[in-house]
Amino acid sequence: MPSPDSLLDDLAGAVLGEVRRQAGADAAATVRAERSTLALTRFADSAIHQNVADEQVTLHLQLTVDGGRTATAATTRSRPDAVADLVAATLAAARLRPRDPSWPGLGEPAPLTSAGSPDEATAAASPADRAAGVAAFVAAAGGLSTAGFVQTAALSTVLADTAGRHLRGATTSAICDGIARLSGADGVARSMSARLADLDCAALGARAGAKARAGVDAVPVDPGSYPVVLEPAAVTDLVGGLVSGQFNGKAVVDGTSGLRLGEQQFDPAVTLTDDPAAGVGLPFDTEGTPTARTELVRDGVPVGLTTDRRTAAALDRAPSGHASDVSTTWGPVAGDPVLSPGSGGSVTDLVAGLERGLLVSDLWYTRVVEARRSVWTGLTRNGVWLVEDGQLVAPVSTLRFTQSYLEALAPGAVVVGSEVDPQPYRLMGPMGYNRVAVPALRLAAWNITGNAAG
């Protein structure tokens, strides 16, 4: 792995051959043959308690007949009779569908910017390699109870269609994510890369341990509006919320996005892109559209959206390469968002600029309350500290917030940190986690609506 895989080429070719045989030359089909391996070693109470690995080949077929009758199917069966069964079932389903007048058709062939950037060592990582990462995290936490996981994943894909495209791509990813625990206080550290060798699990364990020690004997604070410094783990949730709910082409089509393209909606320090090549993305999406760096916000001005072929057609735009297996339902979402660094310096520097406010490590269980304003509610997790005169003065217990993510980044409200820290985050990526590269932020106002007392 993850060099081009002849088995996947053969399977993709076999499916297309079967499509032509069963559905005729006029059928339009896109097939993806994917080989995935996912291995994850979990630890709790400083011991490995779950340790899993799975490997599978999956065939995905989208078949359209009569210029707009479309069905999709997928199977983990890949033997010859399964290929014929897959096509027969998909064809039967497609023929029963009404013609979809907004079927966007297959894409035109377009050059890929790369074939992906898989790391062979990560793809070949053993259970012992992952256990070594866990052991390093546990040891570096200095005797505190620890919990978390080390994951390695690899994905190879061949996409072929009846329009003549035959694309190959591959990627790998690695994550170390854990907490250290002391007397009811948790400290977190996590990182993600395309390469396992990039992760310093010992450094992450040490950071989590230090955070936990600094979080003991937390006190409540009253609800109200506070200036905050959000560490990268917390910023990841904010960026994830915006790319999934605001820059998502389906949200724009549906009217649930409150984005104002071309206006100074955000602080000029905010520049947001989606960059698969810098992250762990594949070089093409599930429709075969090449993926490329997509500008979403330039100097505080929303300038781009993420689209698949359907939403692009509805918005009279070119597709941006963000189709996924779930984009019909949930919309096309950026998979490798990058919030550009600013001039705010380190987390310590950002905190130094707070007269009175909160330092927030992480956010948890965030859900949309009002879609168009992007109002989310959620809780803090893994550490909050009260800041006075630029100094941490006390750890704070868990807080509930209800806050517009759009308004939190308003002009004049943001200082962007200088150190980008890639974090794992779930954005419907094919390997479970996406990589979100963000710095810390200092925000003028964050609406705390509850504490441990209610």
Partner: protein, 506 residues
Amino acid sequence: MMSMANEPGRGGAGRGGASSAVDPAAFEAAAAAVEAALAAGARYADARLVDRRHESMTARDGDVRSLSQTTSVGLGVRALVGSSWGFAALGDPAGDADARRTGARATAIAQASAAVPGPPMELVAVPAVQADWASECLEDPFTVPLAEKGDLLTGVTATMRAAGVAVAEALHQAWDTRTAFVSSEGARIGQHVRETGAGMHCLTVGDGETQRRSYPAFRGQYGTRGWELVRELDLPGHADRIAAECQELLTAPACPAGETTLLLGGEQMSLQIHESVGHAIELDRILGWEAAFAGTSWLDLSQLGSLRFGSELMNITIDPTIPGALGSFGYDDEGTPATARDAVRNGTWVGVLAGRDSAALAGLGYAGSVRADGYARLPMVRMTNVGLEPGPHTLEEMIAATDDGVLMEHNRSWSIDDRRLNFQFGCEIGWEVRNGRKGRMLKNPSYTGIGPRFWSSLDMLAGRAPGEWRAWGTPNCGKGQPGQVGHTGHGAAPARFSGVRVGVRG
């Protein structure tokens, strides 16, 4: 009219149909994997060969928007070496050699786990069952013509669009899962579960806001039943109503902020139970095994049997034997027979959701709540059917007994902290309740609270009137790393709570 009420069950495994119709070759593959895991050094192993079919159809604004069919076949093997587990999975094993390779790999992974070992571990005893079990299904959802399904979904979305909403969507899903389970203790269980569900929703867009109405629930209603469940939902009979309500919400006054008497509909109660009780009683969370991700629990095992969780009206059961409920099965994914037990009795916490290893570690004598999302995922502690027993009141009586309150229905958003204490829920629609009468509609209703305080304020509980108590199905419960989606059931009826903070805004 929906008439899908499932009766609470208190029976044991085997209440479904007689035959699982699992392919004998699946047992051979699972047995070969177990043999290989033991030969490689495991002291215990089990294997599941799972053959799962899923169909999903969506419609939007009068057109079928997507039709997806997936088949997933593969082998998942657990191996225990010392106190360390390993799990390996392989899609579509080609034969005996693939099965044995997967079994040996599970043991090798367990041996790697032993590099960072935990405390000594045993498994609570379960009978080495050799059995077949199948869920009841009157009308196989996979034999219902796609055209009929499409007509249903396009019809209701067209109706809602014609009534003036901005977006109308509808969905149906069905799963057919056949599992061959073999353990090194001699268990050999075939299981065939069919699950079906459907739902619809619409959106209206106003000045800077969107409103949503769903039927019969956010993301639909699901059960271990056949297409008869969808017919009983009667989606066409509700399309005009939810479209009208969705438009009316745009001009309705906002839910006031403050502390008041809260009445919740049954569907919202099901999620309240799921989030603030179901997850809190998961033993792996209580033991800290999910500390880094799903979270822990505010419950302390030393208080099992004595802790006051809620009012006397609060009786929560763990019951995978309820016929047709989404969390029902004959045997869990460790081979433990489905058995009903209490979680909360008269307000006191008395039971947990447990697996064989977590129960042994906690000194408990029962397991039975371990499930996996397909062959490729590790079985872990999951909800089955965690539900509230019916109460002595009716919704009508609750409204009549309320001087000043808010009635909220249908979940719109949910959030709860990692100890399952501090929650905030938003609902799609609310109504004022004044002087014993249901009054004007309210938009953006929300409420917040702290679990045990909230449940202690439960002062009226419906379920006496026909249809008020239902086993609601939640098909999207996320847990685990790698992520797993669980299917859970929750018996629930409308309920009333006093002194609840409502109308939280950002």
